[in-house]
Symmetry: C2
Subunit: 360 residues, 2 copies
C-alpha cells in the first residue's frame, strides 16, 4: 500500500524553514504544498529558492494558508513568542502542527497549544531534529543495555556557539519580545532534551541553576547552566551559551558503561553519525593504559535527520487522516517535559539559584 502523502504548508520564511523545506521535499510521505509570508513576494521568492514544486501555493498572509483545505499540516517556524497565538489557530483549522522549539515561552503557553490540539484532534510535534536521527535509537539501545551500560547515574550535556557581534545585537534569539528565553530556549533546549532522553523522560525532582548566568541588557539569557537531581541520586549538568565556540556533547555515564557524542544536535556530516561507547573499561595491571578501549561507532544515515523528522510526523498525521487514529501523545509529552525543565532553570535563576521542585 502506497504511503499517504501529507501536504505541508509553512507559515513564515525563517532561516530554519529552508532546511525544513528541503526535508519536506526529501521525506517520501510529505509534499511542500504552500508557503505564507506577510508579503506575497517574500513567499514566492522563498518557494522558488527552496525548490517548491510549480503547483505550490503562495500566500501573503498566514490566515489565508490556514484556510486552504488542501493543506494537512503546517510547519510553524515563527519566533517563540508567537507560538501561543498561531499554533492554536492552526489547530482550530484542523491542521496538524510541526512546531519549532522552544515550543513556548513557558509551559503555560504550551498547555494552551496542547488544549487546542486536543480539542481539534490534531497531531503536534516539535522540531527537535536530532531525536529522529537513526543514531539516536542506536545510542538509546546502548543506554538501555543493563549488561553493557548498567544503571544511568550521570549525564553532562553542553551546547554552545559563539554568536558574534551581529548575532548578539540583532538575532531574534536575543530579543525579549521574540525569543525571550535566549540561549536557554535555543541551545539549552537541546541539552535538556538530551538529558531527558537519556533518562527515558523521567522528570528530575529538583532543578538548580548554576550561578553566574550571563544576561544581555534586555534580560535575555546569553549563557547559563543548571544541575538536575533525581530521587534515585541521578545527576545531570547542562550548560548553554551564545558566547563560546561551537561545542555540543552528551556524556551519559552508567554503572557499567559510558556514552559520548560530540555532534548530537547537528552531526558533523549528515550521512554519517558517530558516537563513542565504552563498557567495563578498567586500567591495565600497572595503571598505564585502558582495557578495553572505548569503541568508535558510526551510523550511516540514508535520509537526513530533519527529513526523518518530517517522515515520522507525516506518518502520524497519515495514520490519523486515513485510519482515524488518535493523535500520538509521545512527542508532545516530550516537548512539555523539556519546556518544564527549561522553565525551572529560568525560575531558579530568578530566585537566586534556589532549587526548584518539579511537580510531576
Amino acid at each position: 500500500m502506497a504511503e499517504t502523502v501529507i501536504h505541508f504548508g509553512i507559515i513564515g520564511c525563517a532561516e530554519i524553514a529552508r532546511k525544513v523545506s528541503r526535508a519536506i521535499n526529501l521525506a517520501p510521505n510529505a509534499h511542500p504544498s504552500a508557503v505564507a509570508s506577510r508579503s506575497v513576494e517574500k513567499a514566492a521568492a522563498f518557494a522558488k529558492a527552496n525548490n517548491f514544486p510549480p503547483d505550490a501555493k503562495i500566500y501573503g498572509s498566514y490566515e489565508s494558508l490556514l484556510d486552504d483545505p488542501d493543506i494537512d499540516a503546517v510547519y510553524v517556524p515563527l519566533p517563540t513568542s508567537l507560538h501561543v497565538k498561531w499554533a492554536p489557530l492552526v489547530a482550530q483549522k484542523k491542521k496538524h502542527i510541526l512546531l519549532e522549539k522552544p515550543v513556548g515561552l513557558n509551559v503555560g503557553e504550551f498547555d494552551k497549544i496542547l488544549d487546542a490540539c486536543e480539542a481539534n484532534g490534531v497531531q503536534i510535534m516539535d522540531g527537535t531534529m536530532w531525536m529522529h536521527n537513526p543514531r539516536t535509537d542506536k545510542m538509546r539501545e546502548f543506554l538501555a543495555d543493563k549488561e553493557r551500560f548498567g544503571e544511568l547515574r550521570t549525564i553532562h550535556s553542553i551546547f554552545t556557539f559563539a554568536g558574534g557581534e551581529d548575532f548578539l545585537k540583532n538575532d531574534i534569539r536575543v530579543k525579549p519580545d521574540l525569543d525571550g528565553l535566549g540561549a536557554l530556549g535555543d541551545t539549552g533546549w537541546y541539552s535538556i532534551r538530551a538529558i531527558l532522553w537519556a533518562t527515558d523522560y523521567e522528570l528530575p525532582k529538583t532543578v538548580v541553576a548554576l550561578r553566574g548566568p550571563v544576561l544581555n541588557e534586555a534580560g535575555v539569557i546569553l549563557a547559563c547552566g543548571a544541575s538536575l537531581h533525581w530521587e534515585d541520586g541521578k545527576v545531570a549538568i547542562l550548560h548553554c551559551s551564545f558566547l563560546t565556540h561551537l561545542t555540543m556533547f552528551v556524556t551519559a555515564i552508567g554503572t557499567k558503561g559510558t556514552l559520548h557524542v560530540d555532534d548530537f544536535v547537528i552531526p558533523f556530516n549528515e550521512k554519517e553519525a558517530p558516537y563513542t561507547t565504552s563498557s567495563k573499561s578498567w586500567f591495565n595491571e600497572l595503571v598505564t593504559g585502558w582495557e578495553p578501549l572505548p569503541s568508535q561507532n558510526m551510523v550511516f544515515v540514508d535520509l537526513p535527520q530533519e527529513a526523518c523528522m518530517v517522515r515520522e510526523f507525516a506518518r502520524l498525521v497519515g495514520n490519523i487522516k486515513v485510519n482515524g487514529a488518535k493523535p500520538d501523545q509521545t512527542w508532545p509529552t516530550r516537548s512539555r517535559k523539556t519546556q518544564l525543565i527549561l522553565d525551572a532553570v529560568k525560575t531558579s535563576i530568578e530566585r537566586g539559584f534556589e532549587p526548584v521542585e518539579i511537580a510531576n
Copy 2:
C-alpha cells in the same frame, strides 16, 4: 655533561608505588636506591617484584630509610592522613619529596609541609603524572593561542570510576582515618588540577558545590560536583565519583576554539596520547554539517608520563644538589592551589552548598 642521577627511596609499598618504581627505573636521571616498609620482608618482596637493582637497600622502618645519607629524594605514597606527619620528617632529613596526591587533608596540613620544605631547602612536587605528559604542553599551546582558541570561557572536567563492592568497603580511599577526602581527593583532585591548568592557575573567586553529593556511612565523599566562578565570568564544572563507569575528560571552550581530551589522567595507551581541537568551526550553509570538522591530534610519548614526572623532579633536585639552586616554587604552588579548591568544595558541601569565596 652527564646528568646528575638522583637516588630515590620509597616509604610505603602502596599499589601506586609499583608504577612510580618503574618510572624511577625508566627516568634517565633517577635511581631506585632504597625501599622501606613497616616489615623488612614486605620491603624486600616489593624491591624484588619491582626490579630494584641488587644494591638497593631494604628497610624495615621509614625512619631508617630517612637516616640513610645516600638517599637524595623520597617518594611518599602513604595515605593522605599520614602526609602531614611524614613529609616534614623527610624534609628535616634534607631529602627532597615526591608526594602523592592529595597533598594533605586540607591546605593547612600542606602549609605545614611547605614550611618544613622551606626551612630545610628541599624540593617538593606532587604526584600528578598527567601534568608531565608531553601532550599536556601541546594542549597548553592550543589554549594559549589567541587566534585558534581565543579567550577561555568554560571548562568541564569529569573523572569517575566504578569502585565496585570490595573497593567501596575496603579501599583506603573510602576510610575517614586514611584518605578522608574520598572521591574528591582522588579523582576530583585531577579535575580540579585540569581546571586550574586550563586557566593557567588563576584561582576562581567562588566555588559552589553541586547538590546531591553521595557520602558513605563514615561521611567520606563517594561522588560530588562543583562549579567554579572567576571574576571575569569564566565558569568551570567538575564532577567526580567512585560510583560510575570509568570516564575522564576535559573540555575547555574558548571564544574561538574547543579542546577535548578523553583520557587526560591515564592515557588509553602510554605511547600515544590523543586530543581533539576545533577552531572557528561553524555550520555549513543549510546547517546540515560542520566546517571545519574538529581535528584529531596525537602526541607520541617516548617516556611514560610518570617517568617524565620523575625526570622533571630529579632535574630540579639535581639543580639544587649540584648548582646550589633554590627549590622550584612552581610545582608546590600548583599543589597548594589545587588543595585550596578541593577544600572549598568540601566546605561548600558542609555549608549546605553555599558559595565559598577563595582568598587569593
